[in-house]
């Protein structure tokens, strides 16, 4: 194997692996993420000549197809439901008011149709431009802008319908903290 290829692949991996992982987790939870990420980079290695610059949108398309083709929708939903439970937990440094607003927003995100949620995640968490997000979901940049606009509205609506959560019971918090710790290790 030419060293150039190995170098290029390693650079792509270092630049994008955690992004692909975060995308898959936000679509289908941690339970399936490592395997889907592994498959994605296997495809990227085999088809290295086809991987464009920047590689991220291309990799996300591959990961998206693997998710769609290899994991049944109901299994994906179950895994995602488990993932969402961990999102509602506060980060260490957050103050109470921010925690409740943040968890209400994440809860609202979880109630949206999967297509809406994906667009919002690509824009807000992956930082893709509208043109890049359009490549990932397979529509024109113009259509993407319209769909993202609607998804934002629906998130606003859902967030205003999900009042901030009540403070969780202490015992519950301890157990979920433990689960988050496990989850962090799993990355």
């Amino acid at each position: 194997m030419p060293d150039d290829d190995a170098d290029r692949f390693t650079a792509i991996y270092d630049g994008c692996r955690q992004r692909v992982w975060a995308y898959v987790v936000s679509r289908a939870g941690r339970q399936v993420a490592d395997e889907v990420v592994n498959e994605t980079f296997t495809v990227a290695w085999r088809r290295l000549d086809d991987v464009p610059e920047p590689p991220l949108p291309w990799l996300l398309v591959v990961a998206r197809n693997i998710l769609r083709d290899s994991i049944r929708a109901e299994a994906r939903r179950a895994s995602f439901a488990a993932e969402v439970m961990s999102w509602a937990q506060p980060a260490e440094a957050d103050i109470a008011e921010e925690v409740s607003e943040r968890s209400a927003l994440l809860k609202a995100l979880a109630t949206l149709p999967e297509d809406d949620r994906e667009l919002l995640i690509l824009a807000a968490w992956q930082g893709l431009t509208p043109a890049q997000a359009a490549v990932v979901v397979g529509c024109s940049p113009l259509t993407l802008r319209v769909r993202l606009h609607r998804a934002r509205r629906r998130l606003e609506l859902a967030a205003s319908a999900c009042p901030p959560a009540e403070e969780a019971a202490p015992a519950h918090r301890v157990s979920t903290r433990a689960r988050i710790a496990v989850g962090k290790e799993a990355r």
Binding site: F9, R17, Q31, R46, P54, P113, W125, V146
Partner: protein, 376 residues
């Protein structure tokens, strides 16, 4: 800092989904080794190779164990794909051009009116599959900002596609001047010469008033410092409050905000000049000399590493002699995927003015609702 739901969502991202920290090294070593020992596929043989199926997609734990058995939590500010230092780090011609433009633009009249009106044409350039020419898929955005009321109206139109350059136009004519192009393998759609016309409009008071990504809240504009160093400090503090990213990510957001202040936001002449000076201090700013924008207006341009993507270059075009912005270009800095190094990927041109003429609509385009919006 920003009430936009997309910004709030960015800020709410669970910490473990932050894509910036590097992959923990045991995972990295194992995955790279496992993948790179597999045979490569040549272009010729690719069609027969299919991804392996996932055999145990949902056995919790099992799939994880191999790749990630014992991994300490590693959080680091080291950026795995931070853009490299610029080859010409010294204060170069580009910085001087921006400083000169700042001196011109701050002498422009402040203007007055109820609405700051911006009309922006944007285009994404695509090579037509199977053909020897490229087309620009064009759209137009118009927005009206009532700064005092903290309100914004916007309108989006599809303007259709056109051959990109004169050479592309000749090739298009030789191809029989088709009026539609199949870009389903590129953007997922078929684009037409005529375009869609109005796609949507958005009035204040709807649930989510449309703004640009990386936007600044209107109410903050009058409070921003007009000294460039103070502006940078303030924009950094705002980005830090709004995003959970490492410093180099926040630095890029600062540049994104500065680009918007320099271009289409209703900045005062002094604030616009401060944004120019902030950008002049960015490493890697180069002068491109005199150029014409995509509506044929004469101006001059500078290029800087894109704050959106390290593989892209952002070009800012300014008018002579006012120093006001005319448009932007996004250019590839690497070749691959049918792109050539230096190839144009997209552009915008804009005209802006204060006006008392109200927007031509007062309510949003009706939302067709959740069903049927997917076009996959």
């Amino acid at each position: 800092m920003n009430n936009d739901v997309l910004h709030r969502l960015t800020a709410a991202r669970p910490a473990h989904l932050d894509p910036d920290p590097p992959t923990p090294s045991p995972v990295r070593d194992e995955e790279l080794t496992a993948v790179m020992t597999l045979p490569r596929t040549t272009r010729k043989g690719r069609a027969v190779v299919r991804p392996r199926r996932l055999y145990h997609p949902l056995l919790p734990g099992l799939a994880l164990v191999t790749a990630t058995a014992v991994v300490a939590v590693v959080v680091s500010d080291t950026a795995p794909h931070k853009p490299g230092p610029s080859p010409s780090a010294a204060l170069g011609s580009g910085s001087q051009v921006l400083l000169a433009a700042a001196a011109h633009v701050e002498r422009q009249p402040a203007g007055s009116g109820t609405y700051w009106y911006v009309q922006e044409t944007f285009a994404d350039r695509h090579k037509v599959p199977g053909k020897n020419y490229s087309i620009d898929v064009r759209g137009e955005r118009r927005w009206w900002t009532a700064l005092a009321e903290n309100k914004r109206w916007s309108q989006l139109l599809g303007l259709g596609a056109r051959p990109a350059t004169r050479a592309d136009e000749a090739a298009w004519k030789a191809d029989g001047s088709p009026r539609s192009w199949d870009l389903r393998n590129v953007t997922g759609t078929i684009v037409t010469h005529a375009g869609q016309g109005e796609i949507e409009h958005d009035a204040p008071g709807g649930r989510a008033d449309t703004g640009m990504m990386g936007d600044l809240p209107l109410r903050l504009l009058p409070t921003l410092p007009t000294d460039d160093k103070a502006l940078r400090t303030r924009l950094f503090a705002l980005a830090d409050k709004d995003h959970n990213g490492p410093k180099w990510t926040l630095d890029r957001i600062v540049v994104q905000s500065a680009v918007l202040l320099a271009t289409t936001l209703p900045s005062t002449p002094a604030l616009r000049a401060a944004a120019y000076r902030l950008l002049a201090a960015e490493p890697g700013v180069r002068s491109l000399g005199n150029i014409k924008d995509h509506t044929g207006r004469t101006g001059y341009a500078v290029a800087l590493p894109s704050p959106y993507d390290p593989n892209l270059q952002l070009r800012l075009i300014f008018a002579k002699p006012t120093g006001m912005p005319l448009g932007t270009e996004m250019v590839s800095t690497r070749s691959g995927d049918g792109r050539s190094k230096g190839g144009l990927l997209s552009y915008t041109t804009f005209t802006m003015k204060w006006t008392n003429q109200a927007p031509p609509f007062t309510i949003d385009t009706p939302d067709p609702g959740p069903a049927g919006t997917s076009d996959r």
